[in-house]
Each structure stands twice: as C-alpha cells, then as structure tokens.
Symmetry: D2
Subunit: 338 residues, 4 copies
C-alpha cells in the first residue's frame, strides 16, 4: 500500500496514520522527495483502504502489490516526464537520442562531437570520465579534469552532459558539471551509491545490471526514488547469457515489460547490448519500435582510434544515418500505436 | 572451401578433384541438393584455390572459413528465396506473416481461423497436431487425423499449412498434407530428424534450440542443407536465460546477425519469445524493424479456451491490429533501409 | 494424487475408480509398468483420499503434489534399486563406476579398455556408436556394426554395455547388444524417444538436457516411467551458463536436490560437466561427496588419439588413480552420512 | 611479463628498466605491496626476457600470458598463505571453517554463537552489519555499533571477525574491529572499493560476482593485489543461471580451476550457492572434496528467527554435525590427493 501525503501534512497527522498502521501490524516508511511526500506501507494482512482514506494528511491511497512501490505504475498511471534545466524534457512524447564517445579523450574530440550533435539537433552528449575497466591496467578515464572541459564545451553549445558516476564521493565532485548522472551496469546494485543519488536534484540514468532480473532492476530504481529523487531513467543495455557471438544479449522484452510495470521512462543502449558496430543501428531501431523513449549510442569521429569500445562505436556518417532512421521509426511508432 | 560442381560433372571429373584434395590432405564431402551439386572441403592448410578453379567439373569455388559452409553468406551473397507451390514466395522482399493456434482443436476452429486469415490476406497458417509437452499427461495433439482436415480446409482456401514434425516416421505421414515442416526448439539438435528433412522437397522452418548458440543453430541448418534440402527458414524464438519475468528472452541481436552470416531467410516467433499476450505485438514489430523476413504469431478466436498456450495467444481483434501495424513497419523498413 | 492398483485389479474395479474421479472432476491416467499398475490423477480440487482408499482394486494411495508423480519420492520413499541381468545392481549402496571412450573406434580399443576395466573391478563400459555431432561433416560413430563387437567383447568378460540411442528405430536394432540405453543431452526432450524407451525392459540412463530445469529433467523421466519402464538413472552432466572457461557448468546442487525429490538413482558425468582432463577427477570426487550413486568417466588408452572428446578423456593411469580415490571417497561418505 | 624488483631497487634502476620497456613498446606499471615490488609489463611483441634478466634492480622475471598477472600461478607456484595476527593461518594445509549468522542481531546472539564456535574449535566468525538488500525497505543491518560488540565479544574469545564492507568510507570505520574484510557479490566489480582495499593491511575475502566470469573474478583480485594487498581469498558462492530450483548454481568447477590458475586460497560459500538448508552440508562437503581451502556457512541458534536468510541457515546441531563431517572429508582429501 502507498499513501500519498498532503504537502502540508503535519507531524501529528503523520503520527496518527502511523499509529493506525501499527494497529494492523503494518510498517510505514516515510519518503520525502522534491515533489511530494509518501508513506510506503508493508504488511501481511489485506486491509480496507477506507480506514485510512479519510484521515487528515492523506491525499490519496493506492493498493500496490508490486515489491517495488514508488516506481510502479499501479499508483501513478501517467508516464513520468523528466525536465532538465532549460526545459529540455525526457518523456514518451519525443525520442531522446544520447550520443557520444565511450571515453572523453581531449577537447578536440569534444568539440567535434558537439558540432556533430548540434548539426543534427541532438541535445544530450554522453562521455565517460570515470571508466570502470575489468583490468586495473587499462585506461581509467581522464577524471574530473576531463569532465570540466567536456561540460564547458557542451554548455557553450546548449548540449546536456551525461556521464557515469562510480562512487558516492564523486557525486558532489561532478555536480556542477553534469546534467544526468549515469549509473553503470556494474554499480546497478551498489546500494550506497543509489541511496546517495536519491538525495540529488539531477536525473539519474540507471543501467540494468548485466544479470539483474527486472525485479532487481526496479528495486534499484526504488532505492533512488525512496531517497528522494523521482527523476530516474531505466536503461536496458543487454544481459549476460550463454551466447557469445555478441557482447551481450539485448533483452528487447524488457522494454514493453518495464513500460507496463513502471511509470519511469525506458531507454535502450544498443551499443553495449550487441557490441558490434554493424548491428547497432538495427538494434536501436528495433528498440524504438518496442517502445524505447530514448537510445544511447556510442559515436566517435574515428572509431578505430577510440580509447575504448571502438568495435561498437559508429562514425559520424553512420551516426547521421541512424539519427534519421531513428526519427522516422519514432514517428511511425507514434502514428500507429495510438 | 566450398566447390560448386557443374550440373553435368562426371564421376571421373569428381574423382580427379577428390584426388587433388587428398594430395593436400583435404577431405571433400559431396552434397547433392535438388538445385545443385557441391563439394564441402575441410582441411587445415591454407590453399591456393587456383589449383582447383580450372579443373573440369568445377563451376565455382569459394573460401568459406565459417564452420558452417553451405548456409554461409560467404559463398552465396544473394538472399535465398523459397518458392512454395502456387508460386507463393518466402523472401526478404515481403514480410511473411504466419498465424494460427498453438494446437489444432477441431474443424470449426480451423474454418474460423482460415476465414480470418483470408480476410486479412495472410497466406500461411500454423497449427500443431503433434505437440511436444513437458508433462506426459498433457494434451499431445490430434495427430495425423487433425492434420487431414486442417490441410483440406486450408487448401480449399489457398492457405499454406505449417506444422511441427517431431520424428522421422512422421515426415512421410505428414508429407501429403503439409507445405512447410516446422522443427521445434526441443528437436533443434535431433540430428536424425534434420538428416531426414534434408531429403524432402518441402521447406523446413527450423526453430532455434532454447539454448542453442548461433553457431549450433546454423549447424542444424547445415545438416538439412547438406542432406539435399536448400529451402530452410531460420526462426528465432527466444532463448533461456536467468530472467523469469517472461517465458523466454527474445534474442533480437540474432536477427541482424543471422542475416549477416547466412543467406537463409530469418523469421521471428514473438509469441514464444515473450510468452505474454500484451507484449507479443511490440516484440513482433521490433523484430521486423531488426530485419525479420517473417513472423509467427499464435492466434485463437477465444484465447482463454485454447487447448494450449492461451496466455500468449492473440484474439482476432488483436491479430488484425497487429497485421496492419506489421505491414506499416515492414514498409517503413523497406523504405529507409536501402 | 497417485493410486497404486492391486496386481489383479479388474476392469470393473478400475472403471469404478475412474467414475469416482470423474465425479470430482479429476482425470486418471492408467500406467502399467513391468512391476505394477498405477493411476495418475490430476485435478484442481483438494480431495479426501479416504473416498478412494477403501475401493476394491486400490492397493495404496498417496498425495503427490509434485508435477512429476511416478518419479517422486513423495509416494516411494525407498531408493530405487536397478537390477541388470546377472544380478548386477545399480543403487545407493555401492558406487557404480562407468568408464570407456567417447566413441568406439575398433576391436583393439575395446579389448584394451575391457582389460583395464576387469583389472580394476569395473562392471560397466560406456562407448558411443551413434554420435550426435554439431557438424554434419564430423565423425558420426561406427553404427550398429561397432556395437556388435563392442557388445561381444564386453559379454565375454562380464562387462555391461552402456551406449547412446538417438532415435526410436535404433531401440530394437540395439536391443540384443545393449545393457543400458543412454539418452544424450540433446535428446533429453525428444519425447517420442522417451515414450518408446518406456516400453523396453532394459534400464535407461537419462542425461539432463544442457539447459533443462530440474522440473523438466524429472518430467523426461516421468515420460519413460509412465510408459512402463521403472528402471531409470538420472545423470547430471553440467548445464549451459555464461561461463566459458569450461565446457559446461557442473550443477552440483542437482545431486542432493534430485535425491531429495526422486527415488531414482542419480549419476554424475564429470567428463562433460567440466570438459577439461585436469579437473575431471576432482569433479568426480566432489560429485560422490554430494551423493552421486555413480559416475561416468571418459577414458582412452591414448586420449590424444581419441576419435572425439580427447581433451576431457583420462588415460589408464589417471583412470586407475581416480578409481581408487573414488572408492575411498564413497566409503567415507557411507561411513559419515548415516 | 612480470618483473619482481629487488627490495632495494633504486629509482635510477627502475628508470632504466622502464626505458628498456619503452624501447620495445611495452608499458610497465609499478606495483608496491607490503611484501614486495613488481613491474607489470604489458605489450604486444614477444620479447626476450634475457634483455631484462640481468639488469640491476631485477630480482626475477616471468612470462605470464594470463590477463591477470599478479594473481596468476604462472609466476608464483607456491600456494599463498595468509597470516592473520596471532599467527592464525589461512592456507591449503588446513581447512578453514567460517561460521556465523547472516546478520548480527544483538549481543546475546553473538555470545551464543561464539560459545558454539569455541566449543568446536572454529576460529573465524562471519556476521553482517552492513547488509546489501534488494529492497530499500528491508533490514539493512546494525551498522558500526553492531560491529563494535561483535568484535569485542569475538576478541575476548580468540575468534577472528569476518564482515562485509560495502563502500570505501566504511573501510576505515571498520578497520579497528575487523580481521577479514568481506566483499559481497554485488560489489565484486566495484572497482573503487577494490582499489581502496588494496591499500589496507588486512586480508580481503572476495566473493565472486553472481555473473562474473572466472576471468573477471581474477581481475577483481588483481585490482586489490595491484594496489598493494597480497592477502586475498577467492570465494565461490554460486552463479546465476536459468535454474530456479535453488537460489544460485554452485559452480563447483571453479574450485579446481581457480586453484590451477591462481596461487590464492579458494573458499566456498555453500549457504548462498544452494540457498536451501537441507543441501548446504552436502554442497560444503563436495566443495572440500573439490579442493576448497575453506568454507563459509551461515548458522543461527534458531534459524527461523534469523533477521535474514533463515531458509539457508543451519542450527547449532546441524552445524556441529557438518563440522565433524567437513573435518573428516578434509582429512581424506589430504590423504588421497598427494
């Protein structure tokens, strides 16, 4: 059960509700986000919601049987719309395209990428400055200095910055320079990081763990939401299976399934989901057709020279073609899926 | 290495080529299909194909490094077109839609389904009469008597019959009544069955094993081809993973990948790949966008009453809507993917 | 619910019981094995077994909630003991060791292997004569002629013959020469083959499908049992996972789990489960410690020259050492697991 | 290539070696642990190690082709022995048994558990005070206050404390109270945490990620080692597969495989690997037979009342029996595996 509290709910009112819950052996967790106040109620008995519906301090009340309450569509049937500053929106209405290199390498690279994005009307640039690498001897990214010029060049050109955060201490360090925090697949169940991102007032793009179930993926989002941040984007990026012909196995089923169960926007990352340049565009198009609200695609002026993940990176020519096709596909989908 | 032999290649010419192969420690397997003769050559040394290129009896010669030779696009770059009798074609040019119930139940059901298919211009009906069931006590299908009326009603209405064959002895039994033999996921590595289907002059729709790698899937097709039957359709139907929110995990990556590696047509079976009615259409649309040449969709007038697989079955209203959307998507794909 | 019928249960008595079942909307499947008669009852209501307990023709009655009834330990709490001719037993009492080459190659190989087995007191020899191979161009076994000399040499020396059957037509062909039919992982859900093996009076060693769940594995055994053959050995041989450092992932959990759920003997096949010679012995020992009643191990006088699977095959020296260690481990287990 | 440097290697000597590496396009990473100095050399060319073998500052030099160098047995053939303070050792020589509850609940629980451990000669107690939970509303552990009394009671009784660390900031907080830091499966690729644990002078028990490959698992250990901490225990705890009959699938193959590839001690966690009380002991015994140097087993005086993971927890009676059987098994193994 999920109780939406009134904005001006008093402590006394809240106490009364909590007492009512205790009487029926329920536990109520108070959640306060930037937008609203909630009481997440867990217990075993079936209850009569009318007992609470008229209590002072209660705005609305919903039966939500899902394990994950706040991210569930059971109580919030409208799709969540995320508004960045400048009024740029992430929502079901328009396909959001996020492009950029796997790793930020130098200013020239950022300038060229930003130019390309502007020319093509793309508003979000991704680029890693803290890189989780399986070997400790591999390139681990430029760090915060890289983020500074990446951010400066993007802001001069009206482009939003998306970059991965790997640990709690980086959240504040990155805050000034970032528009969307990305949580990578290896940190999808780093609960301390999720807790801390719940306290931030910027959107979080949460990648699915490479072997997270859908339930666990939503629970990770619930961590962020229940700590106060409602602006979460779920991103399917392929799961780990027995098949080794490609880097991961894109779980296309997840896209309609997540949309059905949650009100949060759902993105796809075809670059990691297939990991082979020649198939990235087709997986991107199919993701849009399955209902993705956005796609993350790795691009580089000269993929062969990329500091990481070159094999799955599109060059600007391929990226431009993909953008056009993605937009046509998104339009078709909007037209036929009324 | 794959050598295409001339149609009138003599035994003497073939002997000479085989002797040449033996001299370089290669082994040549002669394959004779309804369309042509081939020599599949396996060995370890790198060889100079000019040694064989001018020998009498040799039509053409190709280096094919793939494990699976005959199904590879390395030697046959054109997409395979399969022509059923009456000139109905399965190919990349037009999206093939195959619909029908999981199990054939009675004549009335077939009549109603056929009517629906005709009204909507669908030329292929699927329907199980031999059903592989995990429990020995479950409904195992009507058997050959069911196939007889299924086939009669379809033929009276110009609809092609697609049905699963489970063992060698059924091939002949079904022959008169069938247009496309379907091999199910549990028999994807039943090599005796594949061998025997290689000797038949009707197309085979081969489903991927639920945990077959792409290499094994292509090897199963190679079994059929190397026994003489070139008319094979590869069908992705979802793989088995850790995720249990849906019946299987649709491997959408497989669609562009198979198209790239093989000249055979590639179908998708969204009904089994997701296994939940509400998502079947979206997975079907995304499969088309990923390049599927055809889709198999389970439909039933009243899914709740279906003898099997009701939960993943569309009713006629949903099926009609899906057909329209599939056609619009196929058209878009044809237009943008030049 | 599972009803054991009396040996002399009349048709009239059976009809009365079936009528009783129909009245409570249950369906009864009659199963007649070489040992006994059963009625497998499926339905939705909870029922009072006393309604049936005193009916003429009923010997005993059990509530078996498992999907798989006949193979369940819920009604048969004693471990099944399988007796081959000559009184050789397969049971929990003594560890059964089955050894032999992947493929039967020639008489000399069989003679040498049989000599080795006799010297070491091993009573079962495995050897493939029909080989399921992923490539159609690979060695597919010597066929029935190979089985003839394999069987002759074994019988002259008191060794039992274990070999894989791949299709229904081979059952009769092999019957005279075989002591235990083996069903391979790729045929674990070849239901026609399982049905037919149910009608045979020789034991069946059933390997788990490479991605079969435990439920599906037991259901495959239920197919054999429900067709009349109670002498089934369950064999864990590793499952397919994301890990590619070894051929398969030995599912050691399956051994105690299967013993707990089923009364059938449980074997392990460490050769396929890990697929690397250096680790086969340790996986075999750990399987025994987990409760395996038998192990299948591939051996060859010169593994490097084996026609197939050489990399996972022990030579005679390694095999001898493993036999001794296996016996010591089995003894320890018997002593401490009272 | 891995170069062991002399303890008194000068900067000038190091510079000369680095220059030599640069000349052959190799990159050398200097690693300094509490025990020794290393130079990890990565490059593409094959090189003649004699070029470096006689340079001043070089103690020894090894070709290590593995991706993970420092943890590889290719250069250090002896098994690593980890010495805690008081001279308590973790090594191949004796089986290390670690027992305790999933979560530390209160002083009484710790006292009772410590009493049990002392009576049975067990020297390590595990107990969670920071709990990673999939739901944000579940019990997250007592935190540092719990660790304080847990540690105090253990130390008064000569028991070593093993507890999970979830983030960098906790390392220092826990330092005074802990003997072995445990890294949980969800943090197995939390590279910042691994880096930081490399700087600590206490052993780290590293659990395998639930879908980490063996290569990734060793790479995570390489992170810790290359940051300066050589005292690492690898712990197999089951991987995620399609099988849902148990919590995870114990990867028993990993135990001999890890021992073969790495010099580090290998533990098994049967409680998580199977997740069902009735099978924990058998999986523990089989792990020892496969070569595990230690086992982690969850115990609780009254498992039904445990704050978490009760279903996989042994009571004291079961634990005592398991300890005896584990010791007998370890003895047998030592005796037969010479």
């Amino acid at each position: 059960m999920l109780i939406q509290l009134t904005d001006n709910c008093t402590n006394q009112e809240l106490d009364n509700i909590q007492t009512g819950l205790k009487n029926i052996s329920y536990k109520g967790n108070v959640v306060e986000t930037r937008n609203a106040k909630y009481l997440i109620c867990n217990g075993k008995k079936e209850i009569d919601i009318r007992l609470f519906g008229n209590m002072p301090g209660v705005k609305d009340i919903h039966i939500v049987e899902d394990d994950n309450k706040l991210v569930s569509r059971k109580w919030r049937v409208e799709d969540t719309v995320i508004t960045c500053n400048d009024g740029v929106e992430i929502s079901r209405k328009d396909l959001t395209i996020v492009m950029g290199p796997c790793s930020i390498e130098d200013e020239e690279q950022v300038v060229k990428t930003v130019d390309f994005l502007k020319e093509n009307g793309i508003k979000f640039m991704r680029g890693g400055i803290f890189k989780p690498r399986s070997s400790p001897y591999a390139f681990r990214g430029l760090g915060i200095e890289g983020l500074k010029f990446f951010s400066r060049i993007c802001r001069e050109n009206g482009i939003k910055v998306v970059s991965e955060v790997m640990q709690v201490s980086q959240i504040e360090e990155m805050y000034e320079y970032i528009d969307v925090y990305q949580v990578g697949t290896r940190n999808a169940q780093n609960f301390n990081l999720l807790d801390a991102l719940g306290e931030v007032d910027k959107p979080v793009l949460l990648k699915r763990g490479m072997s997270s179930t859908i339930q666990e993926f939503l629970a990770s989002a619930e961590y962020i939401f229940s700590n106060g941040n409602e602006n979460i984007i779920l991103c399917e990026r392929g799961v780990r299976t027995f098949e080794k012909a490609y880097r991961n196995t894109m779980d296309i089923n997840a896209i309609p399934y997540l949309h059905d169960k949650s009100h949060l926007p759902v993105f796809a990352d075809p670059s990691h989901a297939v990991g082979i340049r020649d198939y990235v565009e087709q997986i991107a198009l199919s993701s849009v057709m399955a209902g993705a609200d956005g796609v993350l695609i790795e691009i580089h002026e000269v993929p062969q020279k990329a500091a990481s993940d070159g094999a799955q990176t599109l060059d600007f020519y391929q990226a431009k073609r993909a953008i056009n096709r993605l937009r046509e596909t998104a339009e078709l989908r909007k037209r036929i899926m009324v």
